[in-house]
Symmetry: C2
Subunit: 482 residues, 2 copies
């Protein structure tokens, strides 16, 4: 482990975060709001800190990054972005406490969308744009992480995606990251522009269109309105966001292939089929439950059900309805979706469809072996057999995810948070969803939780976003040895 090298790269990332503050600064200047000074000050601090790290720690140019360095850079880089990203809210007086500012920023960069803001519409537009931009940047990061970095670090089954996106030298991490990133970000940018245009057609102004698109494409969920997307009362806007949330929850390698003309990749992909079937089936069940109870007609029931199912299923967290007022069945379904999450290689969080699909297949195999003790059966995904070590990586991921969920719920309960909220807040933060159930439901927020609980949940968001392993190894002493 070359600490100097790691901190040098973290410095570069911090400088990049500082530079992106120019974008919301432009809006602040245009609107002449109170975001200008906080953004300028934050930029100065962030760029300064990044430059110090960059200049103070030398980079030995010849060597390539190794496994451990890759993980340390990812975890520390995200953490740095989270901390520096909170400065504008602190300098702007949006929050009095560092805890709240950092919570909101980490929630942004991890594309979670859990908020401690009680009155969103009172915040200057420049700062709201920054808040939404943290989502979009986090989304950019996560696509590259999941399709270009994690497959080579061997984290929780992501090895399966080694060959999904072209890269010239599969053995060397850095050139591949650059190449893959360039390709995927083009797709991400294209979908972003498309959604902004479609939202403009729906009568949303440019500012809100950009912010909601950032929240959608990153499956983040920060809105510029206190009542989230429900504010617009527009079926057109609801359906545009439903479609783009669904797209953001797909593997971006598939989008890339589809844009190159191979449209049938979707139907060939086992994970996509599973993701589609779950989304359709859960929407159907939710529609049947709320029709005649919460909504009169079929189309309204479908619209609100689809929005909430896709929003929670892709771990976005936008809301057009308070599902805590719905019958028990859709509530149970939404709670389950919090754990399932989006596809691997998407901006969605949760455990990922691919992993759950493979776990289900492997459980079925064991049942089969019980009846045919001498049979030899391989687990297959889309025709290819899945190596044993990948399966044990996925089993372990599932177990560690649950373990973390349990441990964090115990911590929250010990701080006096009630039973349902403890479980739901942790599930919504590890899964990078945002709204939960109980006192952190879609009509409430995280502001009332104890300070310490907010730090636990911030850590949960980071752990969930970085596929747990990447963060957890930092706490293993052996990881830091030479």
């Amino acid at each position: 482990m070359r600490f100097g090298y790691v901190l040098n790269v973290v410095g570069v990332l911090t400088i990049a975060v500082g530079l992106t503050m120019l974008f919301p600064l432009g809006f602040s200047l245009y609107y002449g709001d109170h975001g200008t000074y906080p953004l300028l000050a934050s930029m100065a601090v962030t760029l300064g800190a990044g430059a110090l790290l960059f200049l103070f720690f030398r980079r030995e140019s010849a060597q390539v990054m190794n496994h451990r360095e890759g993980m340390a850079i990812v975890a520390l880089g995200w953490f740095a972005a989270g901390v520096f990203g909170g400065l504008p809210f602190l300098f702007g007086g949006t929050f009095d406490l560092v805890t709240d500012a950092v919570f909101e920023s980490i929630s942004g960069f991890t594309t979670t969308g859990a908020s401690v803001l009680t009155d969103i519409e009172a915040v200057p537009r420049g700062l709201l744009m920054w808040r939404s931009l943290t989502h979009w940047l986090g989304g950019m990061g996560i696509i590259v992480l999941s399709l270009a970095i994690l497959p080579f670090l061997g984290v929780g089954g992501m090895q399966l995606y080694k060959a999904e996106v072209p890269g010239p030298t599969p053995d060397k991490l850095k050139p591949r990251i650059k190449d893959t990133a360039a390709v995927l970000w083009k797709v991400y940018l294209l979908l972003t522009v498309l959604q902004i245009i479609l939202l403009l057609f729906g009568g949303m102004d440019l500012f809100d269109s950009i912010c909601h698109t950032f929240g959608t494409m990153a499956t983040g969920g920060f809105s510029t309105k206190n009542t989230s997307v429900a504010h617009y009362h527009s079926a057109y806007i609801d359906w545009v966001i439903i479609v783009f949330m669904f797209l953001a929850g797909c593997n971006f390698a598939l989008h890339y292939q589809a844009l190159k003309g191979r449209l049938n990749v979707f139907w060939k992909d086992a994970e996509f089929k599973f993701y589609l079937i779950v989304t359709v089936a859960f929407t159907a069940m939710a529609t049947a439950s709320v029709m005649g109870v919460n909504y009169k007609g079929f189309w309204d029931s479908l619209r609100y059900s689809a929005f909430q199912v896709v929003s929670i299923g892709t771990t976005t967290g936008f809301a057009t309805a308070d599902y805590e007022l719905w019958p028990a069945l859709p509530q149970v379904l939404l709670l389950l979706l919090m754990f399932l999450g989006g596809s691997a290689g998407s901006t969605g969080g949760g455990m990922k469809c691919m992993r759950i699909l493979l776990l289900m297949k492997s459980a079925y195999n064991e049942l089969y072996l019980l009846i045919h003790p001498r049979a030899i059966k391989q687990i297959k995904l889309g025709g290819k057999s899945v190596p044993r070590e990948v399966m044990s990586g996925i089993w372990a991921f599932f177990m560690i995810y649950l373990g973390l969920f349990i441990l964090s719920s115990i911590l929250l309960a010990a701080m006096g948070v009630d039973l349902v909220t403890s479980f739901a807040a942790v599930a919504a933060c590890i899964g990078n969803i945002g709204p939960g159930i109980g006192t952190v439901g879609p009509a409430e927020n995280y502001a009332h939780l104890p300070l310490l609980a907010k730090w636990v949940l911030s850590l949960c968001m980071l752990l969930g976003r970085l596929e747990i392993y990447t963060v957890i190894v930092l706490f293993v002493p052996e990881f830091w040895r030479k």
Copy 2:
């Protein structure tokens, strides 16, 4: 699969169930209560049905039982006991509905202790004795199932216990079952007699002592009092039951070894140490939470915490306090204990300590491998390495357990049961605990649930008790082919 053979053995088991009704009949005659006629009628029907099965289906004497036949006998035998065991409640007018009678009886034979009785003390003593006896018989069954049958069927990691108890011919199931059963039942009987005597010393009458001992040793939880063990207001009785619940949650193979003079087996056993540490740690946390909040002094806090932690942890389900009035932390801990359960080879339910311990070890191994990609690390339990196929069996068990939990919760929610009760009732029934959280808490019961929900939960109790696989394979068409 020889159907005739299977049904013949199920007939023998049914006859055995019928004969055991003599025991409560004795009490009914002694007390001269209204249980005499219902028990006599039930005995006649049960013995008749058993005899019909036995005589109608021929047993080919020469062959030994194979895997599939073993599983079919276990599942159908338990189901038959559950159905015929409900007759006394139906004939005695305790319940008007078959659903309720069968639910109560299955809850008894699966040692769950979930009740649909609203006024326990109004039921004739003979029928209450039968209710408690179903626990004790179920406990006898489960010890032999888990230590003599499942290890040879290769179900969910139970292979590890192949050599725990002596048996002459490890390859042939039947002689081994007889031998092992004889040895284990002696231990079970000894502990039963000991507890009855100790409860008598505490001032409980003989009838109640026997019933509560049956509920304890089987980790069942049916009481003869409406307020469960809280009725006695006795610290002595509480502690006696705490100790015996804890013993009933231990692997009975360890008790057998200890009785042969090898007392150190407990300290050498990795699962026992894990079980002890969890019990002590959770009791300590619960005591700290309730002290000064629900109870004034340390000793009262310890007594009520220990009782509830051991009762839920061993999946017994006796209550001396309504833990729904406790702070959030102990509630979360109790909910987690519902999934953990007792030791393998005990009468306790849940996932079993051994499995969770191995899953935790295997998750740790994966973390280790991520840092040392070239290391080779074996999972060990008590010094012995655990074969890979055992580990995948345990992973799959865990996954199927969770899958069943999720599916059943969805079904309950679809019937209009609220979110918390849906999850908690299913957890408490699959785990064979009894009381849950929500509207099925320790101060309530299952009587108010929809009819169909009671059937789903009855199936859950059977699935949980028989380690899921044994029941689930019955629904696989291939299982029944020649």
